[in-house]
């Protein structure tokens, strides 16, 4: 499934918080380019921080989407803060915990905490914060119009919502 950077929603409190996990696998092609062997330096596959932000954006975006039963088109509009303090490697799990800070007709702000879980030890380590803002784009200030169909919460999301037992009415 393309461009899904979370594997499973594991916790959900409506209007409050959502937790999703992402298992990092060496089968993911991007890890072979991030970073490849160069000269004397061995290859070092680590999860790109930009995709960690994307994983949090998907987790937080779904949380925001659930508030209005996915009727709003929820787009990531601003990375307020992104701080990733440790690498995450293949065989480890990222845990994205998104909390809804504010929401109104125009958009929402979320607070995100990223943990790295090592299945070898079961240890979970907080490795970063990703705070985001989302725009309900039909309500935005520019007065532009967008397609009727909700292209944000498309088929890709439906599977992950169904497996988490979340209704998709949009």
């Amino acid at each position: 499934m393309r461009w899904m950077w979370i594997d499973r929603i594991v916790e959900f409190e409506p209007r409050t918080r959502m937790v999703a996990v992402k298992n990092i696998s060496l089968a993911e092609e991007h890890l072979h380019d991030h970073f490849p062997k160069m000269g004397n330096r061995d290859a070092m596959p680590v999860m790109p921080a930009s995709l960690i932000i994307e994983g949090m954006a998907q987790t937080a975006g779904i949380l925001v989407g659930t508030v209005n039963n996915f009727r709003e088109k929820v787009l990531l509009a601003k990375v307020v803060l992104a701080r990733i303090e440790a690498d995450a490697f293949p065989g480890q799990t990222l845990r994205y915990e998104a909390t809804l800070d504010r929401i109104d007709a125009q958009g929402a702000a979320t607070i995100g905490v990223v943990h790295r879980i090592d299945p070898a030890t079961g240890n979970s380590l907080e490795i970063g914060r990703v705070d985001l803002m989302f725009s309900h784009i039909d309500q935005n200030m520019a007065g532009l119009s967008f397609p009727e169909e909700n292209f944000v919460f498309s088929d890709n999301f439906r599977t992950i919502l169904r497996t988490a037992g979340i209704e998709h009415e949009g």
Binding site: K78, V80, D101, Q106, S135, M141, A142
Partner: protein
């Protein structure tokens, strides 16, 4: 709360929302022209002001269009040929007494209306609202 305390709080909000340096956040700084705020930043600023100025007994709630001009294009009587009409200017002055439109009056270009909002506008807005 004194105007000076309000200003200090607004400064902190703008530092966090816009990543602006404290020394650049002067009273006459324009949010868009000087501090590079974009439209989503306005929502961020609204959320942060609500949080900063709310007290347990008295929530500080900012309605859509109360602080920043919005949806001006929806009423054809307000804007003609990309410029605010007399009716549009009257509406802006009534809705947004915290903004000084004296310089804007000369051009009235609708795409420059956001640049009229200064740090001073935010301080005035909050001062009025807290006293109301």
């Amino acid at each position: 709360m004194t105007r000076d305390e309000i200003f200090q709080n607004v400064q902190k909000v703008l530092e966090e929302a816009l990543g602006a340096d404290e020394e650049d956040i002067t009273l006459d700084a324009s949010l868009t022209a000087d501090l590079q705020a974009e439209s989503i930043d306005f929502l961020d600023i609204v959320f942060r002001l609500e949080k900063t100025f709310s007290t347990p007994g008295k929530p500080f709630k900012i309605s859509q269009g109360e602080l920043f001009p919005e949806n001006l294009m929806e009423n054809p009587a307000w804007v003609a040929d990309g410029k605010l009409t007399d009716q549009g200017m009257a509406m802006l002055r009534e809705r947004m007494p915290h903004v000084d439109f004296s310089k804007f009056e000369n051009t009235r270009e609708v795409n420059k209306v956001a640049a009229t909002i200064t740090v001073q506008s935010l301080v005035d807005f909050i001062d009025r609202k807290l006293k109301a």
